[in-house]
Symmetry: D2
Subunit: 367 residues, 4 copies
């Protein structure tokens, strides 16, 4: 069992540290014959890449992905695909202080306590740079899904940032790719978000965010009870993303406040099969997809690396006041959008393969 792997049949293992020579993902179990090239993956990496706009850290990494194995003449061969991203922007600087101190709210202290050794440069293995490898792997998953079930669409967007929340009444699917926050809202709202975030940055602070990822067109029947449920795997996938503190399916935590009459989605018969009057379930019943949109939401905490001084200690136990001056996003939730999409793609593909392995094809007909 690898602790740096996820997935059952489509299995991704990531490796690498923020400031080592490279990082990447070993992707095993991809179906053969899927058209893949580096530019397809680069598209998604560019979406996640820092330094694109002023709401992100100005670290300037090209994040160019190289395919080292598993693809031959532009198609996957069914053998492991090695995806490598070289770390090119490793500014040489004095890491002395960082080596012996712990940032509050950061993995510095727990890595030290667990291992007794840590690559402290840029957060080492705990850096959000690790998510670049996920995005690359997710790019592979997207292409494989396209080859298997052409109609599936996976889309992520922010639904909240600090005190701001989107207005679902004006939800605009087309607007998502047209603003720096990937919010389904028009340019005026995007400007408000921008102003809000700049004020936080100027206050030497950071802020959390909520991301929603939807998969449309997922066939009914994906998921394997009881511990390989589709929602179980999605919860693990999203919770494994850096800084995530909560995961919701459909109605999520709010389901606890509902009555049964309000929560259960009634079923009607449509032309192409069952239809539902609502989607409180988030497309998953008993751990198995129902054919409705699969809806996952997760909360990203505010980055703990801020310019405002925070109390902490040194390795020797003496007090230390931490001020993090490096390049850090004021809201890491923004860049978590393509990461969440990538995790959704990997989980959906994995369950498509699992279902085909055990069952072969959907078996229960309705109507």
């Amino acid at each position: 069992m690898s602790m740096n792997s996820f997935g059952h049949l489509f299995r991704v293992t990531t490796w690498g540290e923020s400031h080592g020579p490279a990082l990447g993902a070993t992707v095993d179990g991809c179906p053969p014959g899927v058209p893949v090239d580096e530019s397809m993956l680069q598209h998604w990496l560019d979406k996640r890449r820092p330094g694109q706009n002023k709401n992100m850290t100005q670290r300037n990494e090209p994040d160019a992905v190289k395919i080292l194995s598993g693809v031959f003449e532009g198609r996957t061969t069914g053998t492991p695909i090695q995806l490598m991203i070289e770390n090119t922007d490793q500014r040489s600087k004095d890491y002395g202080d960082i080596a012996d101190t712990f940032r509050p709210g950061h993995a510095d202290i727990t890595y030290w306590q667990k291992y007794g050794i840590r690559d402290y440069r840029g957060g080492g293995r705990s850096s959000a740079r690790e998510t670049a490898a996920r995005v690359a792997a997710g790019g592979i998953a997207r292409e494989a899904i396209k080859a298997l079930v052409p109609g599936i669409e996976i889309k992520g967007y922010m639904v909240g940032m600090g005190e701001l929340e989107i207005d679902r009444a004006t939800f605009d699917w087309q607007a998502i790719d047209q603003n720096d926050f990937w919010i389904p809202q028009g340019p005026e709202v995007a400007q408000q978000w921008e102003d809000y975030l700049q004020a936080i940055r100027k206050a030497k602070d950071s802020v959390g965010g909520t991301v929603e990822v939807v998969a449309r067109g997922v066939p009914a029947g994906l998921g394997a009870p009881v511990y390989g449920k589709l929602d179980t795997d999605l919860a693990a996938a999203m919770m494994s993303i850096n800084a995530v503190k909560g995961v919701e399916i459909g109605e999520g935590m709010a389901a606890a406040r509902l009555r049964g009459t309000a929560n259960a989605d009634e079923i009607l018969m449509g032309d192409d099969g069952p239809e539902y009057t609502s989607n409180h379930a988030g497309g998953i019943l008993g751990g198995i997809s129902s054919g409705q949109d699969v809806v996952v939401r997760f909360a990203v905490k505010p980055t703990s690396s801020i310019l405002t001084p925070r109390r902490s200690i040194r390795k020797d136990g003496t007090p230390y006041e931490v001020v993090t001056t490096g390049r850090h996003d004021p809201c890491v939730g923004i860049r978590a959008v393509p990461v969440g999409e990538a995790m959704m793609a990997c989980v959906i593909l994995d369950h498509l393969l699992l279902h085909r392995g055990q069952i072969g094809h959907n078996r229960g007909k309705i109507g």
Copy 2:
């Protein structure tokens, strides 16, 4: 890979349906020499058992657990422990309607769509009775934890039910075991909860609930980044429980609304190591335990089996009005409390063993 298993070194596989001859858990990887007998497990099963008070379904199962293997002369041998619970209260009745119809909000339809066959009696494999096997396995985990790290305490309680929420200002740890809702509140509050729930029952409705589970005394260093994080495994464990729609660690979804200055827990040096000024992180940083209380919360949706008629369809696609007359809890969240505790125990034990396997003992000293 078994889809009905969870855990890495301490691995639990559950089996069985609601109305088959029996159900149970195969528990592998338990350390040898741990004192275990059936009465120790029965204690926790009795806590989960239906029919104990009027807030639960009146199905009357003794839920007596039998140990069939892996325990010799009162101690675990290190080989697989088979835990079996016979289903004794299988009322013979006409299941005709249930076989061909789907309850809204229930796994009936997705099991059918996935497998093309389902044991419809009492929900079959998707029944909450499966959680009895988890509770039995959790009993084993509790005893093993006690043998390994005596100070760890695991406790679950409800924090919300429908419109009700506990008042954290009057949080009373001792009161948890003294009311039918496992709420950390005095008897007056418990009475209010009871009145509220009875009103819902009389309205032929059900309601959701929120459960919090805390593990105290967990040593720093448990958890294995990046995909075997302690919070990742906890999220999967809790999301796999029937009817759970959201999982939170520490601050949870609310972390998205906080600023960095508010969210990060500052670190001070105490007599026995690092101390924190708050616990927004829920005891986990970068996927690794910090030594603070590990805090998990999950939402249980209202049961979809209610007396109020709901619209649905038959297998043949024709409309059908569902009224569920069986024995069902008005709030399944109540019985999820011991289940959440059991999952916490299993995950903590698993990570204790994993840590010992890779590291041997804590390595990074502070102070």
Copy 3:
């Protein structure tokens, strides 16, 4: 990861000790809709059962298997199948000596050294009775294979016992089921084997044996390089059987003595695809099935439980002369035949499912 499990998608976990209340297998990942009942499994268990003839231990266990879950109205549901065999013939006797002594060549001493506790009654977990659970699980696998790829036939037989070896020139496939040794030879040879074995029994000794298992009709393309090779999984499956000390595929150890011109199977084009001039490869090339017969062979050591005194020690280190007076087979290799068949069935089914999961259907056409 469970240490008492094998298989990837079709996953079997066995549990239970020789003299506990019961033993069995938890079978997960079986395709749904496969016709299965207890009598189908009993057929194979009866084949493995002790006490059938004078070449086997006279322990008289009915070995009746019960299906506790995962089968509904005579068909598998896709959920875990629990197979239980109760231990009914647990003679009460004084185990005092056995508890504190170690039989040479037996797992007594290593279980003690590993765990510091062992169920010494009848060998506990290390008893060959564990293989009954495998045979039951193999019965499930056989039915699932039949449903997926009807033409596959799996057959085991002995090819050697002590100084005796079968004569491949007179190999008789039909004779296998007509003698007590499952040898592909006529009744005269079977009588010679019987005389030979009775002489060894009278000499208060035991003897080893070699078993060959063949799977015919396996489609080309099963197996997943590099560490999920079909031969890798077969080697693990056979080596995990009690008392097995060697595993061979096709030419096996003898391949080391051959030249390339002699060993490589030449390829011709037949009416239905490629044909081979020989089968030194045992039906597997590069870890993937070629469509030829899959041929596995394994050696079973002589049972270490014999009436001839052997030198050993007690737990306290003092010398002890071991004479094993219990009921023991003079050649455990005989009963390993149905066990080897069961393991072959489980591995083949697992790889059928794995192939379908990743690939869907054979893709490379020839001719």
Copy 4:
């Protein structure tokens, strides 16, 4: 589950093709704090490297390994270690014929049948070059073992090649590293082996070989019955090596020809614990190490790539006469020696960690 991974806690995933940009291994679960640098790994890679003497293919690859992650300031951090070996000697040539034909005895045909696409250059994923990644990973395992249990020594050597076999009466442990065949024999014998192999090469043929790998100093108690047995994992590890057709533990296949009186190793009490009068068991009883030398043997078939013409077919089914003119070892068994050592090291380390995880330390004392 990754099909290109092996190991439980110490988990190795290899990736890469013979003629792609690079190949390597992702190593997860290594204990932290182990001193490792590239030169330590290069030592073992140089041992496996082709082109060192005239008994090997003259392909000239430096096989220089780079550590891309998981090692910081010369010590492992406990996070994934990425080992990369760039393919530098990829001669550009016309692969036209190879793309559409199948070499007898080679994975060409089965890869094609399974995947419908294959990287035919140099055998692609099925090339023995993949074993370079295992050797690099084994180098990590050796250093970790040294840090955990200093006394363990792992050594491989050839015991047979074609008609030749070593003389165990003149077994010379020191001589192993002093000849091109890693045989435990003096220079005269090595010269005989050389003459024999050159004659085979001149005859445009190849030959098989048998390799034995011994681990000395392995503590009693390693191995986890029933399907995670030490011998089960060793059998899988060795069978997964290219061209291996048989695996033996201790007495191996010959155990089938022995009587119980001859096979069981008697136990005496020595100064430091139990001692055995012989080692037919190969150091493993009931799947658990006994403290004796762990002895594994495997047969490597003769390479199928030879200059003598062999009959085969093209992808279109037409006949084709194969003559393999590339650079190929006349006996690939020689280079399998360091590969077998690497697999032994990985398996032993994995079981050291597993044992520590479940048990903590040896528990059963004798004497």
